[in-house]
Each structure stands twice: as C-alpha cells, then as structure tokens.
C-alpha cells in the first residue's frame, strides 16, 4: 500500500537536503496473477509483485533531471532523487517541462472500487473449462494455442512540491482465447477473442468462447481475393486500431516536433466527412484503464478532437499547452521530455449530421471487404507519412454472405480514409480501445495472396 503522506515527507526531506525546491514524483505498485493452459492442464502460472518510482527535480538553473527506480524503500527514493539531481545538469533549457498548474485542482474521483482477486487454482479451472468448451464447438478446432486469464490489482500516486497528492487504486482482469483450426488438405486457420473486466468475476467468459468459436469457424472456408480496389467495412476494433496508430493527428507534442500530420494551424480545418466525430474520453465508464489524472497530476476529461469532420483540439501536456496558450488536457506522461498520448477514443456520428449512407448494410452487401482485425500495425503504419499497408483478417461479402479471405493486406492513407467514409453502420460497440460503430470506407487497395 502506497502511503502518500510518508512519501511526501520523504521526498520533501530529500529534496531539501539537495537544495531543491521544485520536484515531483510518480510511483506505482501492483500484484499480478496470470495462467495459461494447454489441453486441459495448467501450462504456465505466473505472479508478480511490481513497484516503480520516477522522480523529477528542477535545479537552480531551471533544468530538469529525472531518474526511475524499482525500489520504493527509503534507499530507493534517495537513489532516484540523487540520480535526478545529477541528470538535471543535462536538462534542456530551451523547452523544459514545468509542474502542471492543474495538478492541485480538485479531482473528481472515478467511482470504481477495486475488485477482489481470485485464487490461482480457481483461475486455472476457469480457463481449462473455457478451453474445453471452445474445443467442443467444432471438430476442426484442435487446440487453443494462445490463451490466458490474468488479474491485476494496483495503485499509483502523483506528488509534487506544489502540494499535489493524487492517489488511485484499480483492478483489472483479462481473458483471451485464440483457437487454431485445421481441415484436411487445407491451411490451418486461427482466430480469437478478448474480454476485459475490473475483476475476474466481471469477465464475460461465455461471450469470449462464443466469439472465438464463431470467428474461427467463419475462417475455415477461405478463398483468395483478387487484388484491386474495394469498398471496405471496418469492425469497431479494426477502425479504432487504425485511428490509434495515427493519433499523432491530435498530438500537440508531435505537432511541435514536426512529426505529426497536423500543424499548429490545422485546428479548424476539415479533416473528415461531416458526419464523423471523435472524442477522447479517459473517464468513460467502459474504459477499464481509466485514470483520474495523468503523469503530471492533471485531471483527465472528455475532449472533442474532431467534430463534424473538423479538427477541434489537440491533446496536451503542461509543456505543449503552455506553448499553445491553452490548458493542459490530462494526456501527459512523465519525463525529461514529456510524452503525450491518447486515452480512449469514442467515435460516432456528429449530432444532427446523420450517419452517412443509411442504405449500406453489410448483411446485404456484394463485393465488399469486411475487415475484422488488423495486424502488424507496428510495421505497416508510417504514422508521420499517413500511409499504411496492413495484413488483416476478414471476409469478402457476396449477397450478404461472408467468405473468409485467405491472406491479404489493405493499404491506404489515413487522410484519404477520413475523407472517404461512406457511413457508420449500427450502434457503437465497446472495445478495449474505445467505442465505435462499424465504419464504411470506399476506395482502399487490397492485395490478395496468389
């Protein structure tokens, strides 16, 4: 259990001894349990007790130094602060971060009580049962080679010399099941599903089995696709993955560094079709990784980034907000150079602007590619260029019927994609990365494996 009073007293005393009046600290500790099974037996069981602390200090020149350490004892804190003081000699004077003025604002706590953890043997039995139920769903499903059930309970604090004292606890659990199926004379096929919850009891185990089975079976009957240009419909998860890979569009740090597709003057520009809107909402009730404050102690909030197709706002740290003359938005990490990153996207129709072409329906579509999941985003996305070329799992739709695509890539440019949206279809669905309906896009290049 992290004791904020004790940590505050220790850091204050250490800083004073080094002649430092400005400092901040982020710390966390957690316990984890995870299990994997293999054909009815426990395969690997893992546990972890983790701790970490990061200390930043500002020296008399205003230069910032930082050091991280895995030891939360008094010795560890002393090592971290001494290291930060030493590193501050090399701090950047031109663009140094500062303490967030919003770090002492009152904080609306997230109303999420950490849930109780389950004993590991119970986790093993849950997973063995899930594996068996998935194997029983189809004779071609021979193994579930990638599976796991894990739970975590942790807490984090943020303290600084302005008097900020942030503390939060949370718990989470996850289940994933990836089945491998093979029919005589045909290539093996694989698909899976993931479920998240605040605790193991919250996990939708049956839903995960159903989805993994349905997807795996749907890919058994596959065929190659002709290379060409197609209208595509993205699953919520696939479209959120794509937007997440190009989040430098909204990232003020990337804008200032010249690495974003956007520029300072891009705010107010039309970047998407009018019915498209996108918010970042760290505090959304469905966001299981929600935090009430960022790495600088700034409160998190729901922000409109694109409204009616128009770029409205960037994500900020204290430092980028200062340069833009706006308030920090609660998206900062903690560093000598502070990173900025999104939390949880909510994508949907602009109020009053419709959903695009209401006639589009993937269950009646012909010659349309349904992209269910994208992979290898780390290799196939050129974020600073806007380009992507990504392998995907999906189906070619014919008369509304799905036929699995053997192996293929989808390529395009994100700026063009956002202006080529045809429609949102159906209700928005909750995924681990955000909230989004199915999204129709025209004119994407598909390459099929010959």
């Amino acid at each position: 259990m992290l004791n904020t009073d004790q940590l505050q007293d220790q850091l204050s005393a250490l800083a004073q001894a080094h002649g430092l009046s400005r400092w901040d600290m982020g710390a966390s500790c957690s316990t984890d349990l995870s299990v994997q099974v293999d054909r009815g037996k426990a395969h690997q069981l893992k546990g972890a007790q983790r701790s970490a602390v990061t200390v930043r200090v500002w020296n008399s020149d205003g230069r910032v130094g930082i050091t991280s350490c895995s030891d939360l004892s008094a010795d560890g804190l002393a090592q971290a602060l001494a290291g930060a003081a030493e590193a501050s000699a090399f701090g950047d004077l031109q663009d140094p971060p500062d303490l967030s003025p919003r770090s002492t604002e009152s904080l609306e706590p997230l109303k999420r009580e950490p849930q109780a953890t389950r004993p590991i043997q119970e986790m093993v039995q849950t997973l063995i049962s899930a594996e068996q139920r998935l194997l029983d769903r189809h004779p071609s499903i021979g193994t579930v080679p990638y599976n796991g059930l894990s739970q975590r309970r942790g807490e984090r604090v943020y303290l600084n010399s302005l008097g900020a004292r942030r503390h939060e606890e949370r718990s989470s659990a996850s289940l994933y099941l990836y089945a491998r199926a093979e029919e005589a004379g045909r290539k093996p096929r694989s698909a899976g599903a993931v479920r998240l919850g605040h605790g193991t009891d919250e996990l939708d185990v049956q839903g995960c089995i159903d989805e993994a089975a349905e997807l795996t079976i749907s890919h058994l009957d596959y065929a190659p696709i002709d290379t060409g240009t197609y209208t595509c419909v993205f699953s919520p998860e696939a479209f959120l993955d794509l937007m997440g890979a190009f989040s430098n569009l909204f990232n003020a740090r990337s804008v200032l560094d010249g690495l974003s597709l956007s520029k300072r003057e891009s705010l107010g520009e039309t970047v998407a079709v009018p019915f498209f809107s996108l918010w970042d909402d760290a505090r959304h009730p469905a966001n299981l990784g929600a935090s009430a404050f960022d790495g600088e102690g700034t409160p998190t909030a729901r922000l409109p980034l694109i409204e009616g197709g128009v770029l409205r706002q960037f994500l900020h740290s204290e430092g980028t907000a200062r340069q833009f003359g706006v308030a920090s938005t609660g998206h900062a990490g903690m560093g000598a150079k502070v990173s900025v990153s999104p939390d949880w996207f909510e994508i949907g129709p602009t109020p009053g602007a419709g959903c695009g072409d209401a006639s589009l329906n993937r269950f009646q579509a012909d010659g349309v590619v349904w992209i269910d999941s994208l992979s290898a985003l780390h290799a196939g996305v050129k974020a600073s260029q806007g380009a992507f070329s990504l392998p995907f799992d999906g189906w070619l739709l014919k008369g509304g019927e799905r036929r699995s695509i053997e192996a293929a890539t989808v390529a395009g440019d994100i700026r063009q994609v956002l202006k080529s949206l045809l429609a949102f279809e159906g209700e928005a669905q909750v995924t681990p990365d955000g909230l989004c309906p199915h999204v129709w896009v025209e004119g994407l290049a598909i390459t099929g494996e010959a």
């Binding site: 037996k41 426990a42 395969h43 690997q44 069981l45 893992k46 546990g47 972890a48 007790q49 983790r50 701790s51 130094g65 930082i66 050091t67 991280s68 350490c69 895995s70 030891d71 090592q79 590193a87 090399f90 701090g91 950047d92 031109q94 663009d95 590991i120 043997q121 193994t143 080679p145 491998r180 290539k187 093996p188 694989s190 290379t227 560094d257 010249g258 560093g335 000598a336 150079k337 992979s375 290898a376 780390h378 290799a379 196939g380 600073s384 260029q385 806007g386 380009a387 070329s389 392998p391 192996a407 293929a408 890539t409 390529a411 395009g412 290049a445 390459t447 099929g448 494996e449 010959a450």
Partner: protein, 471 residues
C-alpha cells in the same frame, strides 16, 4: 550491492533447499540488477536524459514428468529474504506445494560460482558519460543537416542497458554474468509538399564499452541522406506477386520472423509449428543453410551464458534445405525432448526464460548479388526491410522501407509502401539463390519472454515468388 557478495549464495541456497523440500523437482532463481540510460537529441540540442535503476528476482518452480511438466513463476522487486521467500511460497502454491520449514536432504548446496562477469567489472565505468554521448548525438544530427535535404525533424537517440545477472538452480547451476548493450540511432522525417519520407538507422553494440566512440556518424548520416533523397519522391509499389531479391544484413529479418520463430520449442509446445517432427526432412530450398549461434564476438545476440546459466552453442538449424535442429530451453527440453541449446533467454527478471534466437542468419552462397538481380525480368529489390511479425498459423508479413523495381535484370525506380506476405512452408522452398556477401545487423525481438537483443543476417537472397502488398 553486487551479487558477488557472499550472502547472496546463502540466501539462494536457502530458497533452493526450501523449494526442493516442499516437493519441487527443480527450483531456479534469476537475480538481476540493471543500470540503464537513455539520451535523446533533436535538431541541435539534447532534449532528454533518462537514467533508471532496476533490481528484481524471478523464482521458477518446476514439477516434472509425473506431474505433467508444470511450472510456476513469480517475479518481485523485493530482494529481501522475506520478499524472496514470499515469491517462492507463491510459486510453490501455484503447483499445490507448500514450504514446510525443512531443508532438502538431497540438496547439498551450490557449487563454485561460474563467473562469466569477472573480467567485465569495469564495463559500466568504462561506458561513455552523458557529455560524450550528447556530443556524439549532436554530431550525428549536425551531419544529417549537412547531408540531407527537406528535413522536418532530425533525431539522435542512445540507450545503454547494463545488467548483472545471476542464475542459481537446484540442479547445481550457479552462474553470474555482466552484460552491456548500447544502441545509437539517427532518424529523420523529410517533407516536400505532399511528399514525405521517414528514414532511420540504428547501430547496436554489445560488450564493448568504447564502441560509441568508433561509431561513424558521418557515414550513417550520408546513408540516411541518400535513402531520404531517394524515397521522398518514390511511388507506391503496385501490388502483385513477384520474384524478389532481399538485401543482406537486416534482410535476414524475413528468415528470423518467417522461419526462426517456428523452430523454437515454445512453438512446438503450443503445437503451432508446421516443422514439428520434421528433423531430417527438407523444409527449404537446397540453397539454404541457416544457423543460430550466441558465440560471435561483437554481435548483438551473443551471450556468455543464457538466462538459465548454460553456455550458448552454434546451432545449425537447416543444412542444404534439411531441418537439423530446434532451439530449446530448459522447459522446452522437458516438454518436447529437444536438447537445450543455450537459448533460454528473457528480457529481465520479470519474465521466465523461453527458447529464443540469438544471432540468426542464412549462410553465404556462391553467387554475386548482381547475378541474383540479373536473373529477374520483372521483380522487386528490397534494399531496406522494416519490421514484421508472424501469426499463429505461420503467416508472416514484413514492410519494405526502401525498395526498387527490377526490370530486365537491372535496378529500376524506387518504390515505397510494399509489404511482403506469405507463410514459411511456402516461401522457404522458394529461396533459390544465395549470394556471397553475408552480413549481420543488430535488432530486437519481442516474444513470449519479452524483448531480447538479437542479430539477424543473410547474404542477398532471391525468392522466386512472393506476394507483395501495395496499392
């Protein structure tokens, strides 16, 4: 604190004995102390200096054949005796075992330490300080400005990872090593109107503290400038199926991802390798001989001992197209019968070791690179490869960072946006020609036991036919 202090041996013996007495067939403890440094320079200034210190332990308990080859693993940052015993208790509990306070009758204590780190004590002190690192990075970004055009951003980055590791196991393993990995990279984003190109190069060094001083900043910057100038105005490649020539050095990533991972016993255990049970059978074109080893001086994946305390080997994986061996760790040997190859690796104490590649490469062949290109009428030359991945059914994909069309046996215009896709079983028999210019490149490999330092390599190789994703 160093793990050489004598009280660590007593503490480890206490843990191993207690674990064995509780009924474990094998107990292993991995201790780690790390000192890391990251430095970044942008344009003409240093913008980030980030030191970090880490210490932790991973305790792994095994039960053998009679209990289904099960294991439990617990990691902790608490290296006190109480903290380590708590980790042991939790690992034992995972296997239904409980510490009973007794000492194991058949555990006689650890043997003399095999200290692979004894000659490396001064490496950390010999590593360059922040001032020297900053100077070299700023030299690099200045050279970029000098040689390249249309630059929108210039970056240099450095990372140092110094590790002291100790492995002790109840089978008598007791070994310690010191490791030093340094990387230094330059990257640019160039833009001219709607044209954009990002190009990066990274230099990796292991075990030689002074390597940063011999890094060729000017040569790296010139290389980046040349690629940037070429790729800024390159057209997207047309999608299709082509013969391709993959350049040497980092071109070896295709073998690493497409085939190497499928030769790790972790894949055999899962039942996801198409090569299971095929030792002695042809799985590749006879032109292909492939090796994985951890011994070569200066290579990024070299290790004095693996993370289970075993010395690495030179393992011939494929010889003239025939599968010869798999890469195996302790658990892999238990569960699959494949003998250990000194390939048990992990990112840190937070991971249990698994069979992983080290320096992996396709051996040189008899041809010149020009002969490979000259044998193709219409194809693609992949000069610089990006990252890639392999899926659970062996499907792989790689991005091509810098490509050129091959037309009538000669290199043509540059192209971008290419992705190579396929599966190992199909592609390995299509590697029909290997050139005589084997070279290796440093890289990182992420898998079940975290991110580890590796080398990939090959000579220029020709693949007769592969699907190229594009526009």
């Amino acid at each position: 604190m160093s793990f050489l202090d004598s009280f660590w041996q007593q503490r480890l013996e206490l843990l191993l004995s207690a674990g064995r007495a509780a009924g474990a067939d094998l107990v292993e403890v991995f201790l780690e102390r790390g000192d890391r440094l990251g430095v970044m320079a942008e344009q003409e200034r240093v913008t980030s200096v980030s030191p970090s210190f880490v210490s932790g332990a991973g305790v792994r308990v095994f039960r053998g054949k009679d209990h289904g080859y099960r294991d439990g693993f617990v990691s902790t940052n608490d290296l006190s005796e109480a903290g380590l015993l708590q980790a042991l208790d939790q690992a034992l509990g995972m296997l239904g075992l409980e510490r009973n306070g007794a000492a194991a009758a058949d555990f006689q204590g650890l043997p003399a330490l095999k200290d692979y780190g004894i000659s490396k004590q001064s490496w950390l002190d010999q590593s360059p300080g922040v001032s020297v690192i900053a100077e070299r990075l700023l030299e690099g970004t200045a050279r970029l400005e000098q040689h390249a055009q249309h630059l929108q951003a210039r970056r240099g980055s450095y990372s140092r990872d110094w590790q002291e590791v100790m492995v002790a196991a109840s089978d008598g393993t007791f070994a310690r090593d010191l490791r030093l990995h340094q990387t230094l990279g330059l990257s640019v984003l160039a833009a001219d109107g709607e044209h954009r190109a990002s190009v990066a190069r990274r230099f990796g060094s292991t075990d030689h503290p002074e390597d940063l001083l011999v890094w060729d900043a000017d040569g790296t910057a010139r290389d980046i400038a040349a690629s940037t100038g070429t790729m800024l105005y390159a057209d997207y490649v047309d999608a299709g199926t082509y013969p391709v020539v993959l350049a040497n050095k980092f071109g070896g990533v295709i073998f690493h991802e497409a085939c190497g991972h499928l030769l790790e016993t972790t894949q055999l255990e899962r039942g996801t390798s198409p090569f299971a049970g095929r030792i002695g059978e042809p799985i590749a074109h006879e032109a292909v001989t492939a090796i994985d080893e951890g011994l070569s001086n200066r290579h990024f994946g070299s290790i004095a001992m693996d993370d289970e305390g075993l010395e690495p080997q030179r393992t011939t994986l494929i010889e003239n197209g025939v599968l010869k061996a798999f890469l195996s760790d302790r658990a892999g040997e238990w569960r699959t019968g494949q003998p250990r190859t000194g390939s048990g690796r992990r990112q840190s104490y937070a991971f249990s070791a698994a069979s992983r590649m080290r320096n992996t490469f396709i051996a040189a062949g008899p041809h010149s690179p020009a002969e490979l290109i000259g044998s193709i009428d219409n194809g693609l030359y992949c000069k610089v490869m990006g990252g890639g991945s392999v899926g659970p059914t062996g499907q792989f994909n790689f991005s091509v960072e810098e490509g050129y069309l091959i037309e009538n046996g000669e290199l043509g215009k540059p192209v971008k946006g290419a992705t190579l896709i396929g599966d190992a079983e199909t592609v390995m028999p299509r590697i029909s020609m290997c050139a005589n210019d084997l070279d290796l490149a440093a890289g990182f490999c992420g898998s079940v036991s975290g991110s580890v330092y590796v080398t990939v390599g090959q000579p220029h190789v020709k693949v007769d036919s592969i699907t190229v994703g594009g526009r």
